[in-house]
Amino acid sequence: MKSIYLKRLFKIFLFCLIALLLDQTMGLLFHSIRDNTVHYPCIDLNKTIYAVNKVHDDIIIVGSSEASIGLDPNLIQTKLKKTCFNLGHTSIAFWWEVMTIKAIFDRYTPEILIWDVGPNPLSIDVTHNYRDIEFMARYKDISPTVDSLINNSIAERIKYTSLSYTYNSTFIEYMRLFFKGKTMKNTKGYIPETESMITKADFSTFTLKDTINLKTKELYAKILSQCIKKGCKVYCVFAPKYLNYTHYPNKSIKSFEQLCDSLGCTSINLAQDTTFLNHPNYFYENYHLNKKGAEIYTHMILDSIGHSFYSIDKN
């Protein structure tokens, strides 16, 4: 009887051991592909390592897809005669941006930081923004900055012992990068959308949530003031939207703009700029510009930056 139990226990142990070994082997394989393709930061997938270890440009753009799709670093480079890189990353928001900024500022201080803060930054409770953390898990080995931002609860630690899990939903992209990375054009992180809107929204107005999350506000204040203290000029930008927002700017947006003023950084709000509003030719969909719109938007940002940048220089 005892021997049956022992045999079964041994079976369970052996199965778990094989699963663990396979998991670690697969994870190491993914790590190796990740590290061998880091030279091609033309797509979102490679921006994390590039941001943490490699980027050394004068102007850095961070943000979500509004940044990567909407701001052309090549135009900025030409106009301001400074190097620029777009670290905007689709589907990832606050914590990834914080990690990127912290990691960059640990190495050097860029001259200008352009931060696309999304349509309504203070209405989000970023303390529960789990997706960013999960996304960063596969990079916890590349820098202590990343590791320090990953949740340290026991459950999280157990979860991240699985290396293949940290590469969830990415292996096709990594394979693509591995085999086709060399042929990809270096766009300095800019990922333009060439199409125009297929169909227009049949609603003409949209109301943004008008709440202020104090914890989020505190976190923004903390990271922004750290950048400014190091002598970087920070611009918080709101990308243009196709939709008409009602009651805009609301208290939440105003509060963010006041926060920027009080910290000494510039906010540039083009979310409801009439150049873009209800112009389907400038948009890919309701929230994202296409290449044509991105060019105009980048020029408008450059105009705003030009004014304040040169006025600072003069002073």
Binding site: A19, D23, M26, I198
Partner: protein, 478 residues
Amino acid sequence: MSFTSFQFLWVFPLFVLFYNLVTQKYRAILLLITSYLFYLNMQPVLFIMLLIVTALTYFSAHYITHQDDDDKRVLGLRIGVVCTLLPLLFFKYFNFLANTLVTGLQLIGLEIHPITTNFVLPIGISFYTFMAIGYLVDVFNEEVEFEPNYISVSLFLSFFPYILSGPIERAGNMFEQFKNLKRSTWNGLVSGLKLMLWGYFMKLCIADRLALYNDLIFTSIPNRSGSTLAIASLLYPIQVYADLGGYTLIVMGISKCLGIKIIPNFNRPFLATSISEFWRRWHISLIKWLTDYIFTPLSFTLRSWKLWGIITALMLTFFISGIWHGASFCFIFWGLMQGALLSFEAYTNPKRNKFEEKYHLRHKGAYNFICILFVYFVFAFTEIWDKEGVTWNETMLILHKIFHEWGTPYLILSKFLYASIAFIPLLFSELRNEYKPERFLFFDHKNIFIRWTSYLIILFMILTIGVLNSSQFIYFQF
């Protein structure tokens, strides 16, 4: 705590261990406490509704059993069924009924302000209400004996694996098992874990993966082209199947680990060659419940109407099925469409049989394939009306766009690619189980190497392509 949460994965083995350590006498109590804690963890406030329905069911069944007078038994059943139904009617249908009434009155010129309640629907109420009604009817028909043990009745209605989304279990099946809760066996544990693994695979790798696309499309219908909406509509039945089918397998697996057998809910529905066959394979527990307690008594009552009696019974049964799915005209229409399709099939069945016999089509692969595709397309079309959160106007917009504004499809190729990779093992398993059930038994293969390799492949597919980041809590250190 959901079955797909990380917490569940470590709580469950501990629970199984503890379950096996307690003596048989206390296992039902342990299961009941766990079920109640599980429910309280999901929805503490409306837990009271579960307790009320349990008490009503127990005392109604007691009354029905202990009455000799038939009229009193009928009265007991009617009162029991109505009282058990009241919470469901109130929470699920009050707003719908009140608004429909107000709209109706406004149409005839009476101005009444809309009345709405903001109550949250108690989790699982549709399931435990139907189970309670089924038990009362079974007691009345003397198909099941009255269960004097209150704990068994409570456990029957609240058993944690199935309380959230079914299957709709039968008292006859469960009471016997609750009376004799044995220790888990090695074979039971292994087969339970296999079911859970396959269930997680279906849910996380297929259903949740397709949901990433479909949710995006169905929450922005006005901005989508007809071709995009057509693709999403065609994928939606697979998503629903993988979601509820996967969930049922997890439920069956959990129960099997505890030595309890739960009825299956699906039987390869997308390989059905007719609508009626499809409904014998899809959401089996609900359809069986509706057949036993609505369709059969109704068709018996209306037997003098012959075919029209069957058609009327079908329409009424699927009307109830529609409204059970949700309180909206979309769901009612969906139910009526299913009833109409089945009625049409019942009406034309003799002709179809003759046609198939004449041309010897029954066992022809190509003919069956065409029938399978036809049934799938018809079901996918009707499912346009069967979506939670999509209004009647949006449904009409979907149809308008599909037929008039085809446009360019919006495709997220990488997402489709992940779903396609996951779809291969599912398709293989469905075809194998349908046509060659004794061959290619990967999970049940005699060779341990093949068995373990297949477990590991599925496990790693869950880890690498499963959608695992839903409903997580984060404590962040900044």
